[in-house]
């Protein structure tokens, strides 16, 4: 059940781990390469069809709609669709609420990523320092949090912090303090929930990475008198760099797109929209106000930001000299 036994029990996977510890940089072409022809494309066909129809095409549509005046009147055919050029974008960036939401989203995502990485890495290191039983217990608890659907996690956390019936206010002696009333306390509550359900991924992944570091290296560092912090800083962190990059990028992507937690915990964006983030804002614009053009423009802004993050990721991967 433990991660410990895990690595030993999964033959295919542990073989995978062994091979990847020192990936050959230049490998001879696969035997099938000589006579591949159309076969790879045949294998790729289902994936490409699905991605083309349900990812690429909608992205193009998103871009197109963002240039149109597209509201309920156009959807129902009452008015002709008119080309707006950059009108929607001009409207967005002229809107102080949008700029506010954009800033909020970046700050909130950054806070979530930072908290998740710190907690996840710290607990991964902690896992390596305890015996099997506490490790199993912590691992199981984390898996439980990880497995909890975002929507049920949100409802449970709201209930835990409920001003009337929640145990947290009771335990902290906060009386009937409402966490969702104030802007910052509401964000703090959402951040806690996001942290709770996203640190396990970081913890498990980094822990798997640490276990792959040869024991001798850590032993040598310890024998040379390195402190735990020095071992982490100078030995483990550099060796874990590829994993840390992946985990960081994944966290940025996930936390930048938080939707369910905000939507459920702050009832659709908080009082007067004080807790809106881009995703929820786009949804409200499109489906609550039927401003599909504006909503699409917000979607494009998100897309561009995440694309920038991806390009940074690709650069980092390239610099590590990995071949794809």
């Amino acid at each position: 059940m433990t991660a410990n036994s895990t690595t030993n029990k999964a033959p295919g996977a542990s073989r995978a781990g062994g091979t990847f510890a020192c990936p050959p940089r230049r490998r001879p072409p696969a035997p099938s390469a000589r006579r591949s022809g159309w076969t790879p494309w045949l294998y790729l066909l289902p994936a490409l069809v699905l991605l083309g129809g349900l990812l690429v095409y909608p992205i193009c549509q998103l871009g197109l709609i963002s240039f149109l005046e597209y509201t309920q009147a156009q959807v129902s055919g009452g008015e002709p669709t008119t080309f707006q050029g950059l009108g929607n974008y001009a409207a967005l960036f002229g809107d102080s609420q949008f700029r506010q939401v954009l800033l909020t989203t970046v700050v909130f995502a950054a806070a979530c990523v930072l908290a998740t990485l710190l907690v996840g890495c710290a607990l991964a290191v902690l896992l390596t320092r305890v015996r099997a039983l506490p490790r199993l217990v912590l691992m199981l608890a984390a898996l439980g949090a990880w497995a909890t659907p975002a929507i049920t996690g949100s409802t449970v956390w709201v209930f835990l912090f409920d001003p009337d019936f929640g145990p947290v206010n009771r335990a902290l002696g906060l009386g009937d303090f409402s966490w969702t009333y104030g802007r910052y306390s509401a964000f703090a509550l959402v951040l806690l929930e996001v942290l709770w359900c996203s640190f396990p991924f970081v913890m498990v992944t980094v822990y798997a990475g640490i276990r792959a570091i040869p024991t001798e290296v850590l032993e040598a560092a310890a024998l040379d008198g390195a402190s735990q912090w020095q071992i982490w800083r100078s030995v483990m962190a550099p060796m874990l760099r590829p994993i840390l990059v992946v985990v960081t990028i994944q966290s940025i992507i996930w936390d930048f797109k938080v939707f369910t937690q905000i939507y459920v915990m702050t009832s659709g964006g908080g009082i007067a929209g004080q807790n809106l983030v881009l995703n929820v804002y786009a949804y409200q614009k499109a489906f609550a106000s039927s401003e599909y053009g504006l909503g699409s423009a917000i979607g494009v802004v998100m897309l561009v930001i995440l694309l920038a993050v991806t390009l940074v990721h690709l650069r980092l991967v390239q610099r590590q000299g990995e071949d794809l």
């Binding site: 295919g12 591949s36 975002a150 929507i151 798997a208």
Partner: protein, 282 residues
């Protein structure tokens, strides 16, 4: 392994570390405990301003309310059907694609790989608007297909990316040996490669299962009028009322919704750590 254990024993502070680990585990597990506890509390105890961390008289009233709600069983089956279809289909499609990009050299291979990586970053929520119109144009609104297809597509890039490592790890020699023994390419693919990659598929399926099972936005946007096609998250929202939330019902429905994911996790968790390790290290 034993060397590592010895190293640990010599280090002081392990007791403190273990106490910390147990405390943190308790804190992490607490919300789930509270969820199940509240689902089992009788109505009077939930609406109490002095919540106690135990209950003397557990009752199934809240669960009964959840299951007696119109069509709840159907919502549950819908969710199961959507998530199950996505997991199986995504595993098969991703396996084929991962095989193509790892075991063959062809033009645009690197370009495709980068596209798969970039595709992971696309905020699927932003695509709700065009997808809504796409589903409407194909008459797919209010069908389970409108939930299955997008989730299937969105789970693919990550699944392909993760499976790459597992497919790569199967030695080339094995493939050559299979061909020399007269196996066809199809036979090698399904009878040799597929079983060997299965642990990776299981680890990958966790992600597609969770993202599909948890989906709230598409379920809310695409199933607009035919509630017999709704999935679980919608059933949960019924218990939120403007005046007073039915917390017992919410917690019971949350419990019902969380249990399948937990079961799934327990089933695959032994593959998960090694799976992530293998994929990420690549």
């Amino acid at each position: 392994m034993s060397a590592r254990t010895m190293l640990r024993i010599r280090r002081p502070g392990r007791t403190a570390a273990e106490a910390a680990a147990l405390l943190i585990a308790a804190a992490v597990a607490f919300p789930l405990y509270w969820m199940v506890l509240s689902a089992l509390k009788p109505a009077g105890e939930i609406q109490s301003t002095e919540p106690r961390p135990w209950t003397a008289s557990p009752s199934l009233d809240s669960f009964r309310r959840v299951f007696e709600q119109n069509d709840f069983g159907r919502y549950f089956l819908n969710s199961l059907l959507v998530a199950g279809t996505v997991v199986v289909a995504s595993a098969l499609v991703a396996f084929l694609a991962a095989t193509a990009v790892t075991r063959f050299r062809f033009r645009f291979r690197t370009t495709l790989l980068i596209m798969f990586l970039v595709a992971q970053m696309v905020p699927v929520e932003a695509l709700t608007i065009p997808l809504f119109f796409l589903m409407r144009d194909f008459g797919q609104l209010n069908t389970l297909g409108s939930l299955i297809l997008p989730h299937l597509a969105f789970s693919l890039p990550f699944a392909i990316w993760m499976l790459r490592g597992f497919v790569k790890a199967v030695p080339e020699a094995l493939e050559e040996a299979a061909y020399i023994d007269g196996a066809s390419r199809t036979r090698f693919l399904w009878q040799i490669l597929f079983p060997l990659v299965l642990p990776g598929l299981v680890a990958t399926s966790v992600f597609s299962f969770i993202s599909t099972w948890n989906d709230f936005l598409f379920a809310k946007s695409f199933i607009i009028s035919d509630t017999s096609r709704s999935t679980l998250p919608m059933a949960l929202l019924v218990f939120f009322k403007p005046d007073e939330n039915d917390w017992g019902g919410i917690m019971a429905a949350s419990t019902v919704m969380t249990i399948p994911v937990l079961v799934f996790f327990v089933l695959v968790q032994r593959r998960l750590v090694s799976g992530l390790g293998g994929a990420v290290k690549d």
